[in-house]
Symmetry: C2
Subunit: 149 residues, 2 copies
DNA sequence: TTTAATTTAATGTATATACATTAAATGTTT
DNA sequence: AAACATTTAATGTATATACATTAAATTAAA
């Protein structure tokens, strides 16, 4: 749908201005869809992302700082997210021997099982595959990375 | 910067998956920049957007529902945002005569003055003009709108 | 007309978030 | 070693947000 219609605005200052609003709007749109998908699993989008990061590390436990460096939203409180996931039994804490400041974390069996189910549903996020081509996905990736130069 | 480096992830499932993460990440990146710019003005990104919507209506007062329909984040509490802006004297409420449920709202003189200053700074958001061409802006707008089809 | 349904905005509540501060462990310098 | 600086994670606090519920006004239906 045209952004002009979504925001009921006839025109934008420029294509640049429109692009910024379009990225923000589409980001919110995707996040709302993500939250909707994850709701039945009882986790938020941020919590899902932490689980995916931990899954990517396999059986290795990684520190909270390491998690932050891999998160989409660097500003979120990784400490508290981790605590929420721990309360739900989806992750485990491991005492770090060589540095007692660190709290190393790894995904639990239960967390992995939940994640596998959630990932199935999340692969449908935005239904993007039916809407744009792989070539277009590559193009948008290139342009977004230029914007963040 | 490559998303692979931003998220310390060697590869993604697909270009589609990467595009979704890229949109979410760039959206957060832009919003963080926006909050940083607006901080000296004492308003949040959401509050700024409400002011811009009201400015677009000139001297006409519009309803809270009308504001919601024009907002980037439809889920935010427009009522409370409006109340925050009113407390700061940036907007005015007008009693709506033909429908007493509605609370019509318009930007105040003070709000307009603040907005003009804020808009100057916000035009630099993301420094996008120096990073992509107008043609690229058009392309990304087209692809984002396809994704939201 | 009077009952029910819808629209509009506000509020209640739990959670999430931004950002600053704290506290403990580790590293560095003198 | 002692003093200082840095890193790591947790916490304090105020605010923001999602989502459900409420309350009032209006509209539609019986």
């Amino acid at each position: 749908m045209r952004l002009e219609d979504e925001l009921k605005q006839e025109k934008f200052q420029s294509e640049f201005q429109k692009a910024i609003l379009n990225i923000l709007f589409t980001g919110n749109w995707l996040e709302a869809d993500s939250n909707r998908i994850l709701k039945p699993f009882g986790i938020s989008t941020q919590q899902y992302n932490v689980l995916r990061i931990l899954k990517g590390q396999g059986k290795n436990a990684i520190s909270v700082n390491n998690i932050i460096s891999r998160m989409i939203d660097k500003m979120s409180n990784a400490s508290r997210l981790v605590e929420k996931l721990r309360q739900k039994g989806l992750i485990e804490r491991v005492i770090c021997e060589h540095d007692r400041r660190q709290v190393d974390v790894r995904v639990s069996k239960k967390g992995l099982a939940l994640l596998l189910e959630a990932e199935k549903e999340m692969s449908k996020l935005g239904n993007i595959k039916s809407k744009i081509s792989e070539k277009e996905a590559k193009i948008i990736n290139l342009i977004l990375e230029k914007i963040r130069e």
